[in-house]
Amino acid sequence: MWRKVALIIAVVSAMVVFASKIEIFSWWTAGGEAEGLQELFNIYSKLYPGVEIINATVAGGAGAQAKAVLKTRMLGGDPPDTFQVHAGHELIDTWVKTGFMEPITFLYKEEGWDKVMPKGILDIVSYNGEYWSVPVNIHRANVLWYNKKIFEKYGLKPPKTFEEFFQVAEILKSHGIIPLALGTKDGWEAAHVFETVLIGKLGAEGYKGLWNGKTKWSDPRVTDALETFAKMLRYVNSDHAARTWDEACALIVEGRAAMNIMGDWAVGYFYAKNFYDFGWVLAPGNEGIFDALSDSFGLPKGAKNRENVINFLRVLGSKEGQLAFNIKKGSIPARTDIDRNLFPEYQRSAMEDWLKHEIVPSVMHGAAASESWVTEFKDVISLFVARPDVKTTQRALVSIAIAQGVPQQ
């Protein structure tokens, strides 16, 4: 009898030791994003059936909470096997320059990704001549979503300029409908909307210049953006501080609000709620500009299951993986060789725009500036929502830029 027990223990412990695992860290927990992730897991499991997938997710839009958990783990020498990170400054400044990542240029060569992804995206995942992560999608941050039924009911046209926006908003308000849905509970959402206002007022070049010093934060166009944003805030739902971004989207689905400005992960949310009566235009003044961000995964130094990670990255970069993931998530593939007709209507339009619009990096989503700048930026805008004091806020934005080493004289 004891021999049997000993045998069972030996077998079980051998399984524990040899069972192959991969821990994948992300903040994809809401509707479409979680489904997209599951699609990737399904493909991976089919190809590598013996590997157990540990789905380590931490809820919170834009990774607000997940990034803190990740940081303690990385600094503590316990990295997840692979983790979600925004391509651009967040990847390069936070993890690559500091020596936490392993380059994966060899994978790009083997899989030929450098031939099928556009230069704009290859640029932001590379540093010092090496590639550091696989972009799994492209998101667009500057979209205005609206409830088609409401717009039809009142005979309104979706606004393209700030002027039209305020006209439409006034009419909606008079009918007792919330013109602009907003959720500010996690602290980043207001800054996200303000980012699109900055783009609308400064244009692509002016906006990009803000992050490298070519445009000064004291610019009168920034003043204009702040004033416009303050005016927009008069048309948002009163309980915005109690809602997260997806809970704000729920207002559109329920027909209580008419519009919101959010990235195209909102599409994933709408699909997951079986809501198809939504329409979209670009945020006011954003004509011809693609405010982009990209989720990517890399290979941390000291990953416990290196081989499994490399295989997972292969799935992420594959045609099949990018297609399955992005259909659910509402984003578009980073690869340009995927058939557009396989995608729903919104994504088709975004894929067209991706090739012809001017691309600017999103600040709130880690592509345009370092994380410390982003944090200070969101704090100042968050305060602005409660106390729309244009002068003080602009002064604060100037001094943040100076503290970040970007001269403002």
Partner: protein
């Protein structure tokens, strides 16, 4: 040395070493980090003295969050202690089913602050008009619609709404403390007072309340240190709130350190929090050590 002496030292030693490293050692480490220039994920140990502290006192979020902490602490202590005392006095009047009521009032303490935060986030949901839910909905139904409020989303109320949830959670605990205190007062004192012709009011004023002073002191210390370093309740319930009206230093520390990668500034906030709690705790410790020595 006697064997039992050696044994007792051996028993104490492991915890002494662990506490030494993981509490006092890390306090020292945090203090050191707060005086260097660590502004990135990668550590930078260039000594900058008190510069991080100086910056902190000019930072709008820090100023707001310190003010909020003050408001929170004062309101939280006053309400919890007065409600707890009132409940204890009422329960002490030989009510039926006392055990049941005691459990009901004490039970919120068994719930974690995170759960309390999530629940109260919905109870105090600010939706008004047709979208009323929670407390606003209830007020509307019972004809007190004019009392509806934006609660934690109203910048003028902000942190005070969080106080409501905190009081809900902790006043039962204060009640338990007071009830134990009241029950430990010798019945002879009551009898003597009654013989002297004291009425109920005088009985409480001259006998019960003065004898409860040590209980009040413990309650102040326990609630005070909770409120100074509160994080989970605010985090789950409101986040920093609109215009940081619900912000507290612990939240700011978390944001600064783990989102902004400004580890030195985060450490500086932590040290200031520690000092605030020490201001409360240290006098209490010296007081209790002194009374113990006197015994």
């Amino acid at each position: 040395m006697k064997t039992d002496r050696i044994l007792s030292i051996l028993f104490i030693l492991p915890s002494f070493i662990l506490v030494g490293i993981f509490i006092y050692g890390f306090i020292g480490w945090t203090g050191w980090v707060s005086m260097v220039n660590w502004r990135d994920v990668f550590p930078d140990f260039t000594f900058v003295g008190l510069r991080n502290y100086a910056r902190l006192f000019q930072h709008f979020r820090f100023v707001i969050s310190m003010k909020n902490t003050l408001v929170f602490t004062v309101l939280f202590l006053l309400s919890s202690i007065s409600i707890g005392l009132l409940l204890a006095i009422l329960l002490d009047r030989k009510v039926r089913f006392e055990g049941f009521f005691r459990t009901v009032y004490l039970f919120p303490m068994a719930v974690s602050f995170v759960v309390t935060g999530v629940v109260w986030r919905w109870i105090l949901n600010p939706g008004t008009g047709g979208e009323s839910v929670g407390l606003n909905w209830m007020l509307e139904k019972i004809g007190l619609g004019f009392l509806k409020s934006g609660w934690y989303t109203d910048p003028n109320i902000g942190i005070k709404a969080v106080v409501i949830a905190a009081v809900w959670q902790m006043s039962g605990y204060v009640m338990a403390l007071y009830l134990a205190g009241i029950r430990s007062i010798p019945t002879e004192l009551y009898e003597a007072a009654q013989l002297d012709g004291a009425n109920v009011f005088q009985l409480y004023k001259h006998i019960v309340l003065p004898l409860l002073r040590p209980v009040t002191l413990s309650a102040v210390i326990i609630l005070g240190h909770i409120s100074l370093k509160i994080f989970d309740l605010v985090f789950a319930m409101t986040g920093s709130g609109i215009g940081f009206s619900c912000d507290v230093p612990a939240l700011f520390m978390y944001d600064t350190t783990f989102r902004g990668n400004y580890f030195s500034q985060g450490a500086a906030i932590a040290v200031i929090l520690l000092l605030c709690v020490a201001v409360l705790i240290v006098p209490y410790l010296t007081y209790s050590i002194r009374t113990e020595v006197r015994r």
